[in-house]
Structures are given as structure tokens and as C-alpha cells.
Amino acid sequence: VAPEPSGPGRGLWRLYDRHRDRVFRHAYRLCGNHHDAEDIMAASFLELWRRRKHVRVVEGSILPWLLVTTTNISRNSARAALRYQRLLNALPRTEDLSDPTADSYRSYQDALDQDFARALATLTTEDLHLVTLVIFEEHTIVAAAALLGLSPGAAKSRMHRARQRLRAALDGDASTHPPTAPTPVLEGERP
């Protein structure tokens, strides 16, 4: 692991280390593809630096802003990727030598991940932001509403509709992918 720099880049270095994994997991959740998730995660952090004057801090953290940006980038990935395309292509990657089709667990998991990404794609961008912040990242509805510029009441009713839509999208797949269909998002109702 490279040593932490002492100059002006240290702050961004620390933020990256702190939030990298959650941003990556969120990006992966949205696209269901490892390579694309890396690109989206990288673009989110590059946007964090480029738009640093406009970042909104919620409850002392920039993570909610990062997650919303990640969602936006994954929805406009063509446009966002274009800005950083050269840079992203220049970053080195470990070649994945294992053939995903050879590993049955892996291919099944990939199929589930992509189903889940497709279900999330049925939500509107605003609803996806809410689901991300409230269900996946366990922020309060009030905090999420503040970040998204909604009233808590409006956020709550949006959440309710988003859950229903997500449930419908996932149930639609239940016939083709029996009981193991990923439903953690529907477990543990929050107040």
C-alpha cells in the first residue's frame, strides 16, 4: 500500500479510502458488471474533486452526496464516462483470467446481480436516490429528503411507491429464478 501523501492531496486520499468500497458496491448494484462499476466509481470520485465547491454534506458526511452522484453517473454513464474516458482507459487493471461461464456459482450470481440492476433501473432517478440512501445505506428519511430537496412527507410517500415498484419488478423475475431471488432490500421494514 502506498504511503499517505503529506501535501494538499491528503484530504482526498482519505475520503477515497473511507468511501471507496461503499461507492463501488453501490455502482455494482446499479450496473451488475464489475468493469462498469469500477468506471462509475472512478468517475464519481473525479466528479467529487471537480465539483468540490457544490458538494452537500449531510449529517457530517459526503457519502450521501457521493452515492447520489454515483447513481446519476450510472444513469448517464455514456456522458459521464466520455468526460473521463481517456483517463479511465489509461488506468491499469488486473486481467480477470477466470472464465465467468466456467464457474457456475459466479455465473448464477452474475445473473442475479443483473436482475437486481434491472429492477433498480425501473425506478425513477429520484426514487432510486431515496432507495439508495434509506434502504441500502441506512440514512434516515429526513436526511435523504434534505439532500434531495424534498419534504420528509413527500420522501416517505415516494419511498412507499418505490418499494411497491421494486417489489413488482423483482416478483416478475421470481418465476424464472426461484426462491433465491435477491430480496434483502424488502426485508426489515424501517420506520
Binding site: 494538499p8 486520499w13 471507496r20 458496491r25 464489475h34 470520485f45 474533486w49 488486473t94
Partner: protein
């Protein structure tokens, strides 16, 4: 399960790139600030110069009145009725100005 983790090689390179963007930006921001200050200074200087010049009467508003003193002022002190000798009017005189 490696699809749930960022590739270390990629991650390290990205982190280095982020830090290099910050360090690249730092001197540029300083230069921009210096330029902004210089610009503001130049503007303020030009403004002051304009005000000074206007006060000194270097500019005449088109169609405005232009006063050119032709003779040196004559200052006398009197009480009661008096006659002030102004001498011969210089060439081109069109009026006199009096102050009490």
C-alpha cells in the same frame, strides 16, 4: 467473490490520479487568485485615475461649460462701497468671476 471488491491495481492508480489532480490544481488556483487580485488592482487604479482626472478638470462634458482663467486673480479687502481695479482685460475675455 472478487466482483464485490475494487481491483487493487485499478484502485491504487485511481487514488494516485486523484492526488495528482489535487497537487496539479493547487499552484493553478494560486496563480488564478494572483491574477484576480492584479485585475482588481488595475481596475481600481484606473477608476481612481478617472476620478482624479475629472476632479482636476481634464475632461469636459460635450456641450458643457469650459472655464479658462486668462488673468491672475485680484484680491482686495474693503469695507463699505468700493471700486475694484481689475486692470485691462486679456485677449478673449468673455466674463469675470467674483467671490465674496
Amino acid at each position: 467473490m472478487n466482483q464485490f471488491h475494487v481491483d487493487d491495481l485499478f484502485s491504487d492508480a485511481l487514488r494516485a490520479e486523484l492526488v495528482s489532480q489535487v497537487t496539479k490544481e493547487a499552484p493553478a488556483a494560486k496563480r488564478r487568485r494572483t491574477r484576480a487580485w492584479l485585475g482588481t488592482g488595475a481596475l481600481a487604479g484606473a477608476g481612481l485615475l478617472g476620478v482624479g482626472a475629472a476632479a482636476a478638470g481634464l475632461f469636459v462634458i460635450p456641450g458643457g461649460e469650459k472655464v479658462t482663467p486668462l488673468a491672475s486673480p485680484v484680491t482686495r479687502t474693503y469695507t463699505g462701497t468700493a471700486t475694484v481695479e481689475l486692470g485691462n482685460p486679456p485677449e478673449g475675455t468673455t466674463g469675470i468671476q467674483m467671490e465674496f
